[in-house]
């Protein structure tokens, strides 16, 4: 009975996602749409973090660039196909830049580089005002007439997210997925086995970038407006927070995490003035008590692994290393040359 707890949660959440917007007023539908789109960006981050062990702090830059591409195309009154083509081209270009710059790095260096790249995109959006409208942004962007209705648009986003999740599952089960996890667990070993880990990471970044680009396009269609805020650091940081809340390596958990964060930011904030404090406390509590995220905790409970850990364990979780995890730790998996660490990871 307990084993099916996670599936029960998934089924319940899916039912909510499918049924509620069909019978709710437009405002509720808009909240759900925002949740799904935010989740999509977080899923792109989670893919890199969970499968490859690389935590990116700059993915909002890719989403933002794609958003600006489609926004610009819409204002130039291009047809839908050239608009999407432009957005795709920009996404691939920006992801490639991210990939090339970061493919030989990992851990904290990867994080810093992606953070910097995100800020570069933000800076471009802010300064290149002739194209991007600068800080004021671009208004009057209309999504395609077929999706003008908010409910129709919501289901489009939901279906696309389901397709992405399916795609990621296929990827995870494929041989390439094995390679990715190999790189996550021990780059050194993969290199000695003959794999080019930079190339692998580059491809992973491209795939993750495509998902982020999709999130960016949908985001612009949702708001019908864009400004540099979409590529700002706090959007990237929020994606990471959602990933950690949901659980690194648990894509569906990301949706739960997104629901929580969007709920607090956009809904609870109407009733609670100190909502940023609440969000921060939630994040801290998750890191201490549920380091594998909400999904990880539920799955752990389902597998009977929950126990009330002694307070010393909780204290140690605030520190650097944890023991006995199968999913990557909350902190960035860090490759060291210490054989003790390599063995420990190898036994998972």
């Amino acid at each position: 009975m307990r084993r099916y707890l996670w599936w029960a949660v998934v089924a319940f959440a899916t039912t909510l996602l499918v049924v509620v917007p069909a019978v709710s007023p437009r405002y509720v539908v808009s909240l759900f749409t925002l949740t799904v789109i935010t989740a999509l960006l977080a899923i792109s981050v989670n893919m890199l973090a969970g499968e490859v062990g690389l935590l990116s702090m700059g993915h909002a830059g890719i989403a933002g660039a794609a958003g600006y591409a489609i926004a610009w195309g819409a204002r130039q009154h291009l047809d839908l196909a050239p608009q999407l083509g432009l957005a795709l081209a920009v996404t691939l270009l920006v992801s490639a830049v991210y990939g090339v710059t970061a493919m030989r790095t990992d851990g904290i260096v990867f994080l810093m580089i992606t953070l910097a790249l995100g800020i570069v995109v933000f800076g471009l959006a802010l300064k290149w005002s002739r194209v991007t409208g600068g800080q004021s942004g671009l208004t009057g962007i209309r999504r395609p007439a077929a999706f003008a209705d908010p409910q129709v648009f919501y289901y489009l986003c939901l279906i696309l997210t389901a397709v992405v999740l399916l795609g990621l599952t296929v990827l995870r089960r494929s041989p390439f997925g094995l390679v990715l996890r190999g790189v996550r667990d021990s780059e050194r070993r993969m290199t000695s086995l003959g794999y080019s880990t930079p190339a692998t990471k580059f491809v992973a970044m491209m795939i993750s970038g495509l998902v982020a680009g999709l999130a960016g396009v949908l985001g612009v269609w949702n708001a019908q407006f864009i400004s540099p805020a979409v590529a700002a650091f706090d959007k990237s940081a929020m994606a990471v927070i959602i990933v950690i809340l949901g659980g690194i390596g648990f894509p569906f958990g990301t949706i739960l995490g997104a629901g929580l964060v969007v709920g607090i930011q956009h809904w609870l904030s109407s009733y609670v003035e100190r909502w940023p404090t609440l969000l921060g406390l939630l994040f801290v509590a998750t890191v201490i008590f549920m380091p594998r995220g909400i999904a990880g905790a539920i799955q752990g409970a389902a597998a009977g692994r929950v126990a009330v850990a002694p307070w010393s364990t909780w204290l140690s979780r605030i520190g650097i290393r944890r023991s006995g995890t199968t999913a990557p730790e909350v902190e960035i998996p860090h490759q060291t040359s210490s054989p003790e660490v390599a063995t420990r990871k190898g036994t998972e």
């Binding site: 437009r26 005002s129 600068g134 800080q135 407006f225 400004s227 540099p228």
Partner: protein, 404 residues
Amino acid sequence: MVAGTAALLVALAGCQAGDESGSDTVTVGFISPVTGFVAALGTDMRRGWDLYWELNGNTVGDVTVRTVYEDDAGDPEIALTKARRLVEQEGVDIVAGPVLANTAYAVGSYVASQGIPSLHITGADDLTQRQLDPHILRVGYTSSQSNFAAGQWAYDEGYRRAVTLCPDYAFGWESCGGFVTAFTAAGGTVEQLWHPLGTQDFSTYVSQVKELAPDVVFVGSAGGPDAILLYDAWQDFGLTETPLIGNCCFADQVFLREVGSRASGVRSFMYWAEGRDSPEVRKFVTEYEKRHNEIPSMYAAGSYLMAQVVAATLEKTGGVVDGTAFVDAAADLSFSDSVYGPFTFDDHNNIVGPVYLTEVVERDGGGYWNVPVKTFEKQSQFWTMSADEYLRQPVFSRDYTGQR
């Protein structure tokens, strides 16, 4: 009398379908950033707005004005969600818009598409220029508007070479744009310096100014910490001999509280001069200070004026809020005095009103404030050009500040 009442009832019946609160209440959705990095501005806005209704009661004729507050945290996405909530769930009749430029554009555009009037105090130029919608009314000045007079005045004072120092983003481009347009049109030359928003150390900029040895320096600032740091560097480098003029927001109260007597004599071109000797200003400042223990900022003053405009328009339309008709009625108003002075609106729904050359002076009772020494009447967002002529020029950017 009967016909009038019947007409009023018919008009009220035609009100927004989403008005759940009954036909004798007008609901205003007030969006401002109460959390986030500009929380101080958003809080001031609420205080100014509230103060008007507290002093005058929130009944206008037969209608009661009810306000629903939302926090946009300075983020356009959150601002949009809140606007959606206000329009779709609360059924507001009017939206009093958020203050940051990108949030204002996002919300203004959405609210207008729903047929609801919105009022703004943000200075973002294009809101009443290239991006104007008939549902939008700005109860304030554009970022460039108060600086045209500065450029003309500087030339008239005999200055021929100016250096401008503005933050490198839209507000800075527009602020300096106003000064540069007027100053160069009159025949002066400018050297432009741009600094990133949030600069911690102004010594490089100030030393460049010293090297250039201009006749006058124009500083565009969004106020607060930037202004304080700049002025500290200015004094440290001994530049007190060079004439300095600030824009609307350089010598604001945050600056004056920190810098105090060192800022005595600093001149700026402002539209909100808290030291102006007028009954409207004195009443507002006294009442605000009684409640909040500080002299009100331009955000409080602007929101107070927004409330005043809403009240006056409701009186005019008999409590009816009907999309663009409400905005048209508001734009027809004229005030012989207000916290900003006497003003009217132009045909692009923006204020045409006085700009003051102010000086920082010590106040009886402590503190420092800006007192006008010269008034420039009827300044328009289009300066001395016609709307069409002005709009044919490119948007102010780092590369284009109207230099001739």
